[in-house]
Structures are given as structure tokens and as C-alpha cells.
Symmetry: C2
Subunit: 356 residues, 2 copies
Amino acid sequence: MAYWTGWLCNCVNRVSTPDMIGEFDLITEFFSSHSAGRQDIVLGIGDDAAVLRPAPGDDLVVSTDTLCQGTHFTEDMPAHALGYRALAVNLSDMAAMGAEPLWCTLALSLPGVDRAWLAGFSSGFFQLARQFDVALVGGDTVCAPLATTVTIHGRAGPDASVLRSGAQAGDGIFITGHPGDALAGRKILENDPAIIPAHFPDRPVAANDELLPELIDRFLYPRPRVSEGRSLAGIASAMIDISDGLHADLVKLLSASGTGALLDAGHLPVSESLVQWAGRSEAVHFALSGGDDYELCFTVPPGAEKQLCEQTAAWQCTVTRIGTVTSEAAVRWQQDGRPLPVDDAGYDHFGGGADA
Amino acid sequence: MAYWTGWLCNCVNRVSTPDMIGEFDLITEFFSSHSAGRQDIVLGIGDDAAVLRPAPGDDLVVSTDTLCQGTHFTEDMPAHALGYRALAVNLSDMAAMGAEPLWCTLALSLPGVDRAWLAGFSSGFFQLARQFDVALVGGDTVCAPLATTVTIHGRAGPDASVLRSGAQAGDGIFITGHPGDALAGRKILENDPAIIPAHFPDRPVAANDELLPELIDRFLYPRPRVSEGRSLAGIASAMIDISDGLHADLVKLLSASGTGALLDAGHLPVSESLVQWAGRSEAVHFALSGGDDYELCFTVPPGAEKQLCEQTAAWQCTVTRIGTVTSEAAVRWQQDGRPLPVDDAGYDHFGGGADA
């Protein structure tokens, strides 16, 4: 989940005006450039979260993410899944910083008061809040088109926050879980929203095709890698979560670090379900460009790989080495020993999706 | 500015559904009741802000407010004034807690990219941010109808936060500034938006009627009483900021304290401009029920009134004693020695306005 680094891309794509400028220039011109000043800011705009220092040794990690109907989800999104997601995408930001999530606020924009919908939404939200011991401490609600904005607060990891900017040539590049599944699930739902029962209980009911529930579940219920992220503080040299697509988000990490990478698409941990549903070639495509995965991509110095192995033994998700950081700025993928061209479009490559 | 205490009132009023319930019940049923748990929460949902305790002696004060076009402002609102207001309403929450504002995040929902609008918005936002040394540390932006959500973080006052719940019988009731002016300014603009020049420079240009600019300015540019609020930590027994109307917000404070009040409308500090524009009787009405003032209403124990006098000598705004806290739960206004009936509707009494 980007934190003011990928915003407005959908907006810019959709709106044609003589004043149209890129989102990065826009942030710089109107916001970042005015935001200097305080000495208690360790890290401001531009990473997965801000790092603030109210007192020495007590870093506070803060992130805000908005989800809007039409941009980040369709009207078919079950209330339970939306409540879950509103918090999940913010937890994923904490994970990407190696931080412990503590508290959040919720700004909820509703077109009307629907008790059944609110029951589903709050049930999904608090299911995840309880799981990660995150407290909702306040918020605001207004009558407007459906949207959620969650601001989450966390405590920095024991060895400080893991930023995007710390990767060095020679570091290994790793990814958790199975990228691409979430996009497949999204596409299945877009083609047939009726797969989700009208009165959504808790999890999507199994469709006839036994591949579908797993892929749909990966889209509707991304697992924020919070404990994994926290255990990487002090081990990973750089980290980002994958919301806009593995390649696009990895490019952000490498760019922030002033490095490049050599990667092998043959090592991508595509799931069996994705391969069966999409075919192997398309599965790699999904893994490289699909958004909404909320897996962690991180780099580890060679001297820390043993420590990484010890940590990952306790993880509930897979972790896969997919390449190596290089000093040359280019990001080069190969497959079967041949160069594999990959563009930078990320999730928009598929013509829709999230910018947050 | 209420913090999940007055939300959705516009929504409930506008939307008719079989499931319609009051906003307080809705918050309790779907959100507050799930939000217990952590030991590091001093104060959760229900005051002007949450109070969190990452470490002893280091309380963090957090508040979130959303402003939506159509609910909180009209399309005539100049971008500069909206940028100013987006931060001002949150600063007012910090003021009401006696806290020092430090950092904020901004979630900005835009229908499109308009550089002139963004220049005005950011100019208004950062004018106030610089004035109060508040840093913008991150945010998110999406393409959707115009709305802003600011989450602000502050440090609790030297004598801890001032809550709504501390008023005791015998305490004096005070208010800063001139309540009612903002609503008058809003009504003037609603009747004649052309008073604001199309290319709004910085402040509204004077209209022919010399009363108007002051009242309009009070609506467009409310002054958050941050330094006044901070100086009241350790003096005021309870405090709230006036966003929904003096009477309505005072009722919230007294209700949280389990007390009532006897108040004299003849002591209300209505401005000369308001009296000239509306007449004295209507001016009192505006002062009691008008929203958007963002003045502070607070209570002070008899033993601390001397200390209050010493503090207010340095203030840039007036402070007026308007009544006394009573043990009887009723909130009774009188004028010229006779009871003055006042209803609890607050800002909605005038058929529109803000719920946040």
C-alpha cells in the first residue's frame, strides 16, 4: 500500500484538463514542498508510513489509506469484506514498516444508514482488529458516497522502522505468499459477482469450480503480514507491501534505494490455483502486475540470510527469494535464461484498480 | 468539533429507511461496543479527541474530521478557505483537549486535478499549518466527490488532557470570542455567493455593506483557539469546542459531566456586527444555535478563576462568563430574569449545516 506515492493515478488517467500533471509532481508542488519544519519527524511523505518521534526511543508510525467505491472496490463488495479490507490495507502498511499496530481511527462516508450493511462492515473490521489487537479509538462519519479512510498508528520495531530506501547491491530480494492470486480473484468476481451470496455470512461460499474460492478469498481477505513484518525489523534492509503489483512496487523500493535488480520470473511463487486457472504464462503475468496482494517484498543483506531463515521457520506464509539487488539502476527480469520485458504500469496495466 | 458524537445526523435526517436509528445508538451498537481492550488507551470514542499513552507521561491526542461538499460546505467555498478549514476544525479539537498540535495526515478526495484549485487549497492549508507549526506527514488522495479527512496528532497539556466530563456544580461556564458570527457569515454567503470574488486571493474582498466582511471572515476563517486551550490545561475542569452550536455542545459537556447549568443569555458575548445585521433578539438566537464557531466553551472551579484571569490577560480573544454549573441535570437559560426556552437541535435548528 503506497503512502502518497501512487495516489491520483486513476484520477489523472480519467480526467483530461489543460492543467493535468503527474501525481508525483502534484504531491511535490502542492504538498511535500510545504511540509518541512519539525525536528520530531524521522520520515515524512513518501514511504509506506510516516515515522514520528514524540520522545527518543519511542517512534510512532502513522499511515492513512482511503478506499472508494468505484475506484478501489465495486458495489458488489460484501460489507464484511469491505470492513475487513479497510483495516487490512492499513495493517499492511504497518507490516511494511516492521511496526506493531496499536490504534486506528475510521472516517466512514455512507450514502445512508443500513443496519445490515453496518453490522457486516463492523463485523469484518473488528474481526481483523481483534486478531491484531488494534483498537478503534475514534472517527467521523458523513453522508456521502461510500468510502472509508483509516488512519493507523503503530510502534516502530525494536530495531527502528524498515524503510524503502535501505537496499544495497548484493542484497537478496524476497516476497511472501503467492502474488497474483488476488487479481485473479478480483477478475473472477468481476465476471460473476453472483458467486458471492447476497447475504454474505463470513466467507464466500464455495462455487462449483474448486479453484475459485481460494482465489476469491485471497482478493476479499488479504492477510496483512504484520508478525512477519515485525520479525524482519533488524533483518530486512528495505521493505514495501505489494498493493499496486509486485513489479511496480519493487521499482519504488529500488528507486528509493538508488539501486536496480536482476530477477528471475521462474522463481516467482505462483500458486497452483492461479496456474490452473490462468495457465503458467498468464500466472506469471498476474504475479508481476497484479495489485491487491498485500504481500511483503523485502531485501536482506547476505550476512543476514541465516537469521532470516531462522525467523521464517515460524511464519504461516511462504517466503521466496526472487532476485538480487544490483548497483546498476535497471530492473531486469529474466525467465528460462532469457530477458523478460516487464513494463512499469503495475495494477493499471490491467486497466483498473487501486491507486492507494 | 465533535469526535464521533454528532455524526450522521444529516444522513439520518435525509435518508428514510426502515432500519433508521439515531447516531448515538448506531455508534454504540456497531463501533464503540467493540472497541475495548488495550490498556494504553486513556480515552477512546466520545470526546473531542482520543487520548493514547504510548509511554507514561507522554500522552498522544488524536482526532479525525471529515468535511464533505454538500454537507459541510457548498461548491462556492473558495479552495483557500476549504484548505484552511480542513485543518482548522482539527486544530480546534486539539484546542478543546488543551493539547499541542504536532502532526497531521490528509486524505483528499478530488473529482479531478485542477492546479489552480490545488494551489488555493494547499495555500490555505499550509497558511494555518505554519501558524501552528503543524507538519503534514502523509496522506492519500483518490478520485471521488470533493471531501477532506484530516487526522491530527498532538501532545497532551502539561496537566493532562481537558475532557468534557470534569465539570462540577459551582464551576463557572465560560466561552471565548463571539458565537453566532459564523452562522451569520454562512447565511450571507448562501444568499449571495458572488460576494466572494471568483479568483479568491486570500481573504474575502469587502462588500459594500461594511458589516459583511467581518461576519463572512468569521465563517470562512474560524480561529482555532489552540494557545488559549493549551493555557487552560490545569485550570479548566471541562472543555468542548463549539461546532454544532453553543447550546447543543454545552449540553454534550454537561451530559458527559453528569451536571446541568443555569445560564444567562443576557451575558452572551454577541458581536456588534451580528446585532446590527440580525437585530438583538435574532443575534442571541444565532449565538445559542449557530454552528461553525469553533470557539471554546469551558468550565472553571471557583478556586481557579483568579488563575484564569491571569491567563486570559494574554489572550487575543475575549472570554465571557455565561453561567454556572448546577447539580440538577437540566440546562436552563434565562434572559432579563425570565426563563428562555432553548431547544437541543443545535445547528440543525436552522435546517442545514455540519454534523462533524
